[in-house]
Symmetry: C2
Subunit: 285 residues, 2 copies
């Protein structure tokens, strides 16, 4: 049996009781380690579970998938995923391979950023399409997510922005030389995402457009959701470009139309309460 | 301290290790019992937690909120919610009251139907606005959710339909007489939701419209997501109006544009594999 087990979002204890029981009884336990992270590392998880974890990173995922399934045909195998196994990242590929090989699978769900963002008070059923914001390079500055956010706003919907993660990336030189030397991991901050959005706003104006999102659009920054030291900050896009939220992981929301209860909740997290209230008054006039 | 704790979706063991620890240490533990349900009842939860639970139902929620907060000012109090505290239902009101009274709060997240539906293989970031489908009465047959689904489809997005729950409802006679006699609880099935949708399709045609959704639109029915006996069925809206999924809770998805990997996953759950493959071929021609 192949178990896909969500670890939730905070630390080792965010696993479910059911998930922990399954891990303890499995023959092998793999940890997916390239699409997200907890606030604790592999060693802490190993100590808490009382089990050795095998890292399944992106580089070797094809090979690991075969290994995982080879084992799961004979024994119980657990594949651990930060958040929910079918949350921000889906592991459909692994499931489809298992089914083709006739290996039964089971999913043990947990919180993912896709539902836990509700903690800021914006209602999940008012969210439109989720977008990903990737790190820009000198030569590659995609803007397509901006148009998706604009479309959501036109429909009155909020947009969850998942911010880029770069783990085990090689620089161009090492890549060309085939050297397996990796850059330090990078996690996009709310500041960086806000700056990229502000740059697009400027670009659009230069092109004669009146962008759907401006410096004054109310946004929400979230850091380490589910952890004891989680931080939430609401304010204008401009304000979020400088707000201090601490270490990764960060996410960001661009608001659409807001219900009074949603506004009340966001006020709790306002970077600048007076500025926030002024903005809300302007919306209503 | 007020703790809002998600219970997840299956049974007692779907609570997180962290959530269980907090429950065991809290002075009082309330169970929100009107917006969702697990596959097990209050007594099973009480035995598993080793704690007495106080039901907080909709009828007395105003009064209960005051009681909950009065206690939380002095002791640690837990408020348990099926799914995630900020999932399909938000408990912003309780949080706002707590903050106004200067009572600190903490959220312990868990899976909610809003992210766990990913288990059918449709990717969460391809979902548009979530809609609620309510039980029709002889005199009240709202259709507004149909237009929201249509809008999502036009944008290529899937729609999660949360199906109605009627718990502790009085009939008109008892309501008028002020008798606190309640009807048996009702949980909308995928069959019922599909039938209502089919009725709207017919209505729209009678009005000369060409509806965005038809009898042949590919949908997904989900029952008891997260439980050992969960069921997923994919097929046309017509097929889902008769598919047998067993007991509550049910949810339904109306698909939008689909990625090949999403189609592969839905094929695993097809009510009629041949019909499903034919439909997919027609889409691609």
């Amino acid at each position: 049996m192949l178990y896909l087990i969500g670890l939730g979002l905070g630390d080792a204890k965010d696993i479910t009781v059911k998930g922990l029981e399954v891990i303890k009884q499995c023959h092998k336990v793999y940890l997916e380690a390239y699409t997200s992270m907890l606030t604790v590392g592999k060693e802490v998880l190993e100590e808490f579970y009382g089990r050795e974890l095998i890292l399944a990173d992106r580089e070797t995922v094809e090979q690991e998938a075969d290994n995982i399934l080879k084992d799961a045909d004979l024994f119980d195998v657990a594949f651990l995923v930060v958040g929910d196994p079918f949350g921000a990242t889906t592991h459909s590929d692994l499931v489809l391979r298992a089914v083709k090989l006739g290996i039964p699978y089971r999913v043990i769900h947990n919180a993912s950023i896709m539902n836990a963002v509700g903690c800021c008070g914006l209602q999940l059923y008012n969210f439109g399409e989720t977008v990903s914001v990737v790190f820009w390079t000198d030569t590659w500055k995609p803007e397509s997510f901006f148009d998706k956010i604009g479309k959501n706003r036109q429909n009155g919907m909020h947009t969850l922005c998942l911010l880029d993660i770069k783990v085990k990336e090689q620089n161009l030189e090492n890549l060309m030389k085939g050297k397996k030397i990796y850059e330090p991991p990078r996690y996009m901050s709310v500041n960086q995402a806000a700056e990229q959005l502000l740059a697009i706003v400027q670009n659009r104006r230069l092109q004669g457009e009146e962008p759907e999102i401006t410096e004054d659009t109310i946004c929400v920054g979230l850091a380490r959701v589910g952890a004891t030291d989680q931080k939430i900050a609401s304010g204008t896009l401009q304000e979020l470009s400088t707000v201090e939220l601490g270490g990764p992981l960060h996410s960001m929301i661009i608001t659409g139309a807001m219900h009074p209860l949603e506004i009340e909740m966001l006020k709790l997290f306002a970077v600048d309460k007076l500025s926030f209230e002024n903005k809300m008054c302007q919306r209503n006039t």
